[in-house]
């Protein structure tokens, strides 16, 4: 049985929408632009506008909103934690007290700001991976980074490593699960004691896992060689990336939205 599969990075859900069809390079650049914009935002109105923009993108992608929101689940703890820390430990005008804890107006504002920012960052990045297949992502990155090739930057190798990593994450998670259980069945105590004891207790899991990973890597390398893989040179693609005018439109739209919202944010901060 496969556990932990829901943790995979490859959470691509094809719907055939315009968002899905957009060139991955445009989507990566657009996402970078959005992330910068969200990172610079600190006004609630601007966050609201970003959220509205996100909603538009999600509607266009024909993915259920709930599915997109779920991509934030692995970091929801982090979001809440950050918000709570800011809520409780910021200096300023107290609104109410609860024993030794006090909530200040500044704290409330900071909590909202940090929480929204983190949440939006994660959801936008999640939207990218939901609408772009891992291969497209890798291809896109390879192309975007290829100008660095003459400087010795291994763009193709990076992309291939990413593809393989995504391919093997579910397999390795299964494997980890199986080995942990096998050692539990042999009486291993994996979850008690202090940090050092716990780390030591994981040796029976880590050693076999390394052995498996190396063995897999070796077999995979042989299989790839057997399938004529000789690196990036001379390789063609089944679906070569084609930059169409609608990709330019998509990217420029996002860029304009970002510039506008960053500008709006800075104007509002001044007030």
């Amino acid at each position: 049985m496969r556990f932990l599969n829901h943790l995979t990075l490859g959470q691509y859900v094809p719907t055939g929408s315009v968002v899905h069809k957009t060139d991955p390079r445009a989507k990566i650049l657009a996402t970078l632009s959005i992330l910068t914009g969200v990172f610079l935002a600190d006004q609630w109105q601007v966050f609201a506008l970003w959220a509205a923009f996100l909603t538009i993108v999600v509607v266009m992608s024909r993915l259920p909103l709930s599915m997109v929101l779920r991509t934030a689940r692995p970091v929801i703890f982090l979001v809440v934690f950050t918000a709570v820390i800011h809520l409780l430990f910021s200096q300023g005008t107290p609104i109410f007290r609860f024993g030794i804890l006090k909530v200040t107006e500044e704290g409330l504002r900071m909590a909202f700001k940090m929480g929204s920012r983190l949440f939006l960052l994660v959801i936008f990045a999640g939207t990218l991976t939901l609408t772009t297949s891992p291969t497209e992502l890798a291809d896109g990155l390879e192309h975007l980074l290829s100008p660095l090739k003459p400087l010795g930057f291994p763009a193709h190798e990076m992309a291939m490593m990413m593809t393989i990593a995504i391919r093997f994450i579910p397999t390795l998670l299964d494997e980890t699960d199986r080995i942990m259980k096998a050692q539990l069945a042999r009486g291993a105590d994996l979850d008690s004691g202090g940090i050092i004891k716990r780390l030591r207790a994981f040796i029976p899991v880590l050693v076999p896992l390394f052995v498996i990973v190396f063995q897999r890597a070796e077999e995979l390398a042989i299989a790839m060689e057997s399938r004529n893989y000789k690196g990036g040179a001379g390789r063609t693609r089944m679906n070569p990336l084609v930059w169409r005018s609608r990709d330019s439109v998509a990217f420029l739209t996002v860029l304009v939205v970002t510039v506008f919202l960053v500008f709006l944010n800075s104007r509002m901060s001044l007030v």
């Binding site: 049985m1 259980k181 052995v211």
Partner: protein, 280 residues
């Protein structure tokens, strides 16, 4: 003294979109000194069932008990259950991590608190049960052949002296002689009173070695009984998802075509019956 699996259901990722019903309404009893095989295809839920036998998984519904100790109401005694029920996972050679065979086999006994001076004896005993000589003790397990590694891994479970031994596809990847040797080993343990649970997709093998068989497909129990009962049932009706071995399939086909032969798994019996039919 037995493992009792009573009407269990197991659901993975309950309440999420990934919810999967791996087992539903499965029951099974394994006595000490008995060999029970659980036969099913990949994904039939047989590995999930195996992990219930030593409380690595707890049932979503239903009840599991080992020698009268229920897993649900005795959560503090789960380790005791795990000591009693040794579980050998598929490809157990992949769990090996120690520097010497001795240390590898001693890992289990140490974890269960076997006194230090008793451990060498346990290791020697387990090695000999697994058909490996004393000379293996100081070798690195990583340098052994695949078949030897598997024996070391099985020995590491035997060193705990479990009352029951659950093995998930123990013959996977072994050739004919490796398979036979492993079955002999398990048969010997059974005769000494260990309860054997053999999880496999090899119906032909199961019929030849087991006392009782559970046929599992799609997470549901389809047939349960002695090999004889299973044979009879399988000739009466097909079990979807279960591939019939060629000999009974062949004899069944001949019967359908009007030849008076019994539906059998035994090659000699079938040849004899066909000889009589064609009058030789």
């Amino acid at each position: 003294m037995s493992i009792v699996i009573d009407n269990i259901t197991h659901i993975y990722h309950r309440g999420t979109p990934l919810e999967t019903v791996a087992l539903s309404g499965v029951s099974l009893v394994v006595d000490r000194g008995e060999w029970v095989s659980v036969v099913g295809h990949t994904g039939s839920g047989k590995s999930t069932l195996a992990q219930h036998m030593n409380a690595l998984l707890l049932p979503t519904e239903g009840h599991v008990s080992v020698d009268g100790v229920g897993v649900e109401e005795n959560r503090a005694r789960l380790r005791e259950i795990r000591r009693k029920v040794g579980l050998v996972f598929q490809y157990p050679e992949q769990q090996i991590f120690e520097e010497t065979v001795f240390e590898e086999i001693a890992f289990g006994p140490k974890n269960w608190g076997v006194p230090g001076d008793e451990i060498p004896e346990r290791v020697t005993e387990a090695l000999s049960l697994a058909g490996l000589g004393e000379t293996f003790k100081e070798l690195s397990p990583f340098h052994l052949s695949g078949g030897e590694k598997r024996r070391v891994a099985i020995a590491s479970v035997l060193a705990v002296r479990p009352d029951y031994l659950v093995l998930d596809e123990p013959t996977a990847g072994l050739d004919a002689s490796g398979k036979r040797e492993l079955c002999d080993l398990l048969h010997g343990l059974k005769q000494k009173g260990t309860g054997i649970v053999h999880i496999t997709h090899d119906l032909e093998l199961a019929v030849s070695v087991s006392d009782r068989i559970l046929v599992l497909t799609g997470g549901k129990s389809r047939l349960w009984g002695t090999p004889g009962v299973i044979l009879e049932e399988l000739t009466e009706r097909e079990v979807p998802g279960l591939v019939m071995p060629p000999v009974p399939l062949f004899s069944g086909r001949l019967r359908e075509l009007g030849m008076d032969v019994p539906v059998t798994w035994n090659a000699e019996t079938l040849v004899g019956a066909i000889e009589r039919c064609v009058g030789k």
